[in-house]
Symmetry: C2
Subunit: 549 residues, 2 copies
C-alpha cells in the first residue's frame, strides 16, 4: 500500500483555498499511484476555528468541502479532518472528526476521543468526545485512525483522560496507526512528539503515520514536523519544519525497516534556531492571511526592536519593513548610530521623526494640572505614547501593520507602556525572555555581524529619563528570567522558588509584579507563541484577583 502525507498550511474559514489545496494534493497522489493520502486535523476549516464552530453555516461550508473532496476519491482513499455533526440530541453538537473518504463517498467518520482543554486548547467547548473505536479495513489492511491527542494518553503517570482509544483498537489487531494532528509549536514540542509516538509504537508494535499542520494562525504556529515511525519505534522520516511538504511511503518498506536496526532519521534541533524560524513563519503568515504586505516599527536602538526588525525582514523582505527612529531629549547618540548601522546591514530604509514637539505640547496642555509635581511615570509614558500615536498614524495612512517589540520579561512584570510601546498588530517576541532575546541575536549573527555588537552589549534602557537603565527598576535579567520561568512555565510558588536559591523578597516582588499587571497584558496584541506557556489565550488569569498580588 502506498501512503502519502500532506503537511499543509490552511487559512481558518478560507474554504476555497483550503479545499483547492487539499484536492490538488489528492490529484497528485492519484497520479503517483497512491492508495491512501492523509491530511491534518480540521484541515478543511483550519485550526483553531474557535467560535466559528458555533455557526451552523460554517459547519455547512465544512461539509460542502468534505463532499467536494469525496468526489475526487475514485480509486484513492483520503483521510481528512473536519467537524462532524453529532446527530444524537445529547451532548455537544459536534465531533472533531477524521473522515475516511473512498470511491466518491464518506466511508467512515472517526470521532476524536481525547479533547485537549488546557493551555491554548478549548476543544471541549465545541466537541463531544468519541466513545466507539473500530479499525478501518482497506485493501486487506486494518487502519487504526486517530485524531491528535488520542495518542497522547500513554506511558504517563498522571494521565489527563479516563479513556485511551488505542487500548481498545489494539485488540482489533491494526496493521498501522494513522494520526491526524494540529499540534502547535513550542520549543519543547518536537521532542515531546517523538517521545509520545515512540511510546505508542512500544506499546502497540505497529507503524505510525502522523501528519501535522504547518503555518501560523494568529498566535499559534504549527511547525509541521510530521513523522513516520516503524513498528520498532524507529523514526523513518521526519518531515520539514515550518514549511509545507508532501511525501509518499510504501507500507512494505516500513515493515522491512522494522527488521533493521538503523538509527532514527531525525533532524538536529536547536531551541533558539527553532524559535527563530517559528517567529519568521508567524510574521509571514499573519501578514499573508490578513492580506497585508508591509510592516512598520519603532526602532529604539535597543536589542528588542533590533531583533524584531531582523525577523520581520526575514519574513517580509527588506522592501516591506519600515523602521522609524523616534528620538526624544533622552535618546542617546549611540541609539541613533546603532540603528542606522543595523539598517545598513540589512538593507532597509530608515526614517527619523522626533517626538519632542508632541511631547512638549502634551507637557504644555497638562502644565496647569501637573504644576509642582515631580517628573515621573506619567511623563515617561507620555513619550512612549507619543511614539505610538506617530507609528499608528503612519500605519493608518500607508496601510502598514505595526509590529510590537516587547519581550516576555517586560510583558511579565509590566515594564512597558500600555498604549505606548505595548501597541501593535502582533507581538513578535512577547514569548521570548530577554535572555533568549540575546541568544537569538547571537544566533542571527552566527555567520557574521548583522545586529551591531554594541546593540547586544550595551546595558538595556528605555531612555525615558536621563541615564535610565532597566536595572534601576528591575533585577538583572538573568535572575529575573529564571524566577519568571519557574512561576510562569512551572507554576511554582514563592516558597518553592526561594528553595531553589533565590532571595525571598526579590521573588515575592517579581511574582507580585506579574500578578498585578494582568490588566496590561489583557490589552496587548496577540503574542506569537513559541514556549510551552505564553501570555495570551493559553494563560487565563483574573484581573481583580488578589492571590500573590
Amino acid at each position: 500500500m502506498r501512503i502519502a502525507l500532506a503537511q499543509q498550511d490552511y487559512h481558518i474559514g478560507n474554504f476555497e483555498e483550503n479545499g483547492r489545496k487539499i484536492i490538488e494534493a489528492v490529484h497528485k497522489a492519484k497520479a503517483n499511484g497512491v492508495d491512501l493520502i492523509v491530511f491534518p486535523e480540521l484541515a478543511v476549516c483550519g485550526y483553531p476555528p474557535r467560535d466559528f464552530l458555533e455557526f451552523n453555516d460554517f459547519i455547512r461550508l465544512c461539509n460542502e468541502v468534505v463532499d467536494s473532496i469525496a468526489k475526487e476519491t475514485q480509486g484513492i482513499a483520503v483521510v481528512v479532518g473536519s467537524p462532524a455533526i453529532n446527530t444524537k440530541p445529547e451532548g455537544k453538537d459536534l465531533f472533531n472528526a477524521a473522515y475516511f473518504l473512498l470511491d466518491g463517498k464518506i466511508e467512515r467518520v472517526v470521532h476524536k476521543a481525547l479533547l485537549p482543554t488546557y493551555d491554548v486548547f478549548d476543544e471541549y467547548r465545541y466537541f463531544e468526545p468519541g466513545k466507539e473505536f473500530n479499525v478501518i479495513e482497506y485493501q486487506g489492511k486494518k487502519i487504526a485512525l486517530t485524531v491528535c491527542e488520542d495518542l497522547w494518553n500513554v506511558g504517563n503517570e498522571n494521565p489527563l483522560y479516563m479513556a485511551c482509544p488505542m487500548d481498545v483498537l489494539t485488540h482489533q489487531q491494526p496493521d498501522f496507526i494513522v494520526n491526524i494532528s494540529a499540534s502547535p509549536f513550542d520549543y519543547r514540542h518536537a521532542e515531546d512528539r517523538i517521545r509520545v509516538l515512540k511510546a505508542n509504537t512500544n506499546l502497540y508494535k505497529v507503524p505510525i503515520f502522523y501528519v501535522n499542520h504547518v503555518g501560523a494562525q494568529t498566535e499559534l504556529i504549527f511547525d509541521g514536523g510530521s513523522l513516520v515511525l516503524d513498528a520498532n519505534g524507529r523514526v523513518v522520516e521526519e518531515l520539514p519544519y515550518f514549511e509545507e511538504a508532501y511525501r509518499e511511503y510504501e507500507l512494505d518498506d516500513l515493515i522491512a525497516s522494522a527488521q533493521t536496526s538503523q538509527p532514527d532519521n531525525v533532524q538536529p534541533k536547536n531551541k533558539i534556531g527553532l524559535m527563530h524560524n517559528a517567529l519568521v513563519l508567524g510574521i509571514k503568515d499573519y501578514f499573508r492571511k490578513l492580506g497585508f504586505k508591509q510592516a512598520i516599527l519603532g526602532l529604539s536602538g535597543g536589542i528588542d526592536s533590533a531583533l524584531v526588525l531582523v525577523l520581520a525582514v526575514e519574513a517580509l523582505g527588506p522592501e516591506n519593513v519600515w523602521p522609524i527612529m523616534l528620538p526624544s531629549r533622552f535618546s542617546s547618540d549611540h541609539s541613533i548610530n546603532d540603528s542606522i548601522a543595523l539598517c545598513q546591514n540589512i538593507g532597509v530604509k530608515v526614517d527619523k521623526i522626533s517626538i519632542e514637539e508632541p511631547f512638549e505640547a502634551f507637557l504644555g496642555v497638562l502644565g496647569e494640572h501637573f504644576k509642582g509635581l515631580p517628573f515621573n511615570l506619567a511623563e515617561e509614558n507620555m513619550q512612549a505614547r507619543s511614539r505610538a500615536v506617530i507609528l499608528m498614524a503612519m500605519s493608518n495612512k500607508f496601510g502598514h501593520i505595526l509590529l510590537n517589540t516587547s519581550n516576555k520579561s517586560e510583558a511579565a512584570v509590566g515594564y512597558g507602556t500600555l498604549y505606548g510601546d505595548m501597541c501593535g498588530g502582533i507581538s513578535v517576541i512577547g514569548d521570548v525572555y530577554k535572555t533568549e532575546v540575546f541568544q537569538m541575536c547571537e544566533y542571527i549573527n552566527r555567520n557574521g555581524e548583522i545586529i551591531p555588537r554594541n546593540i547586544i552589549t550595551k546595558p538595556p534602557s528605555a531612555e525615558l529619563r536621563p541615564d535610565q537603565k532597566d536595572s534601576d527598576s528591575l533585577p538583572e535579567y538573568d535572575i529575573l528570567d529564571q524566577v519568571l520561568y519557574q512561576y510562569i512555565e512551572h507554576r511554582k510558588v514563592p516558597k518553592e522558588i526561594v528553595a531553589m536559591g533565590f532571595d525571598e523578597a526579590l521573588v515575592k516582588r517579581i511574582l507580585r509584579l506579574v500578578n498585578i499587571n494582568e490588566y496590561k497584558r489583557y490589552q496587548t496584541p496577540p503574542i506569537l507563541r513559541v514556549s510551552p506557556k505564553a501570555f495570551g489565550v493559553g494563560r487565563r488569569m483574573p484581573i481583580v484577583g488578589k492571590y500573590l498580588g
Copy 2:
C-alpha cells in the same frame, strides 16, 4: 430544620476576606439556631479563579480555608463550594466540589457533574466531572446536594450533557435539593433561572434552596437573586439582586407552602433597569477589588460618555469621578455646553483640556510624510489618540482608573480608535447596544432630567472632522443593532438575517465589519457583561480567519 442561605460577594484569591466573611455568617447562623447554612459555588476562592487553579499553592490555601470553616461547625452543618483534589491518577487534577461540613469535620464532598464549557465558562479546563451521586442524610432528612449546572440539564430538547445527576438522586427519595451556584448575570438570566428551577421541582417534586454569588469579578457580574422554591415549584422567596443577603427558612414552612396555592413571590424585573444596576455594581466592585477609588473619563458631549459618567457617579460617588472635556477644532459648542449642564446636574467637577496643541504638533512632525495626502482616518485617529495620551497621563499622575466609553454597536463594527477612545481599565457599556444606551438614559431620567435632553436627541457624532455624523459611516443604529443582535447573540448568518427583511448588501457589509475588526476587540479592556453574548472572554474568534471577512 432551619436552613440559612448566604448570598455573598467574594474576591478571587482573597482567602482572608472570603474565609472571614463565611465564618462570620456561620457564627450568626449558629446564634440563630440554624441547622444548615449554605454558601455559593467556589465561595472559598471566588469565581472564576481561572488558571490560579493550576497552582498547587492556591489549592492548598483553599483547603486551609475549608478546614478553618470546618472548625466552626460544632452543632451546625455548612455547605460551601471549594475545589477538591482528584485523588485518582486519571483525569483532571481537581473537582468543582460542594463540601458538607459538620461537627468540625469534612463530612462529605460532592463533585459537580456538569461542567459548563461554553461562552465565558471554562470548567472542563480544570475539573473532572463527578460521576457518583448520593444524597446526604442529616437530621433524618435526605439532601440532594448539587452544584450549579447540575440542575440545568432538564426539560431540554437539545441537552448539552450526557448525564443528569438528579435523575439518579431522585431514586434515593431526597427531601429537598440544595444547589450552590456561581451563575453570572445577563439580562435574560433571571427568567432562565426561575424557569430551570421550576422544571426541576416539576420533575422531582421537592423544594429547592438555590444560593448564588453576588458581586463582580472583572467582567463577570453575579447578580445574586438566590431562590427558594417549594415542592410545587412556587417561588417562596427571591433574594435581592446586586447586593449581599442572608435569609433563614424553616423546612416545615416550605412543606406547608406546597399545600397552598399562593402566587410566586418574585420581584418585578425590567431589562434596562437590571442592566443599569449590574453596571453600577460592575464598576463598584472593579474599583474596590483593585484597591482604587477614583475614575477619570473623557466627556465628549455625546450620549455614551454621558451615560458612563452617570453610572460611575452612582457607583463611586460624585467626589470620585473626574470627567475631562477634550475639545478639538471639530468640537461643537453644544458638546461643551451639554457636558457642563450634565456635570452640574450630578454635582461633579469637570475640567477642559484642549487637544489642539498636541494634534498640531503631530501634524507638524508628520508633515513631511503626509504632504499632499488628504485628511483621512489617520488624522481622525490622531485626535482620539491625543485624548487618550492626556487621559492616561492624568491617570498615571493621580492614580485614577480611566473608564472606557465605547458601546457594543461601535465595538462590533470597529467604529472606534484603537489606543484612542478604545482605551481604559474597564469598558462600562461595551455590552450595551447604542439603542439600549438611549433606553438606559431614558431610564436614568425617569424621575427627572439628569442627562440633558439635547445629549439624547442630537445625532451621534465622533466630531473628528467637520460636520461628521455616525450615520455617514454606519447604518442607522436601529437597523444596525437588529442585524448585530441576530449575528452576535443568535449566530445567524447573512441568508437568515436577510430573510428577516434586511437588505442583503447591508447585512453582508455589517457582518464583514464585525469579523475584520476582531483584531481591535482583542486589545480592548474587559467589558462588563450584561447580555447573553458579550465581546471578550465569552466570544472567541480567530483574528486571521477569512469566514465572512
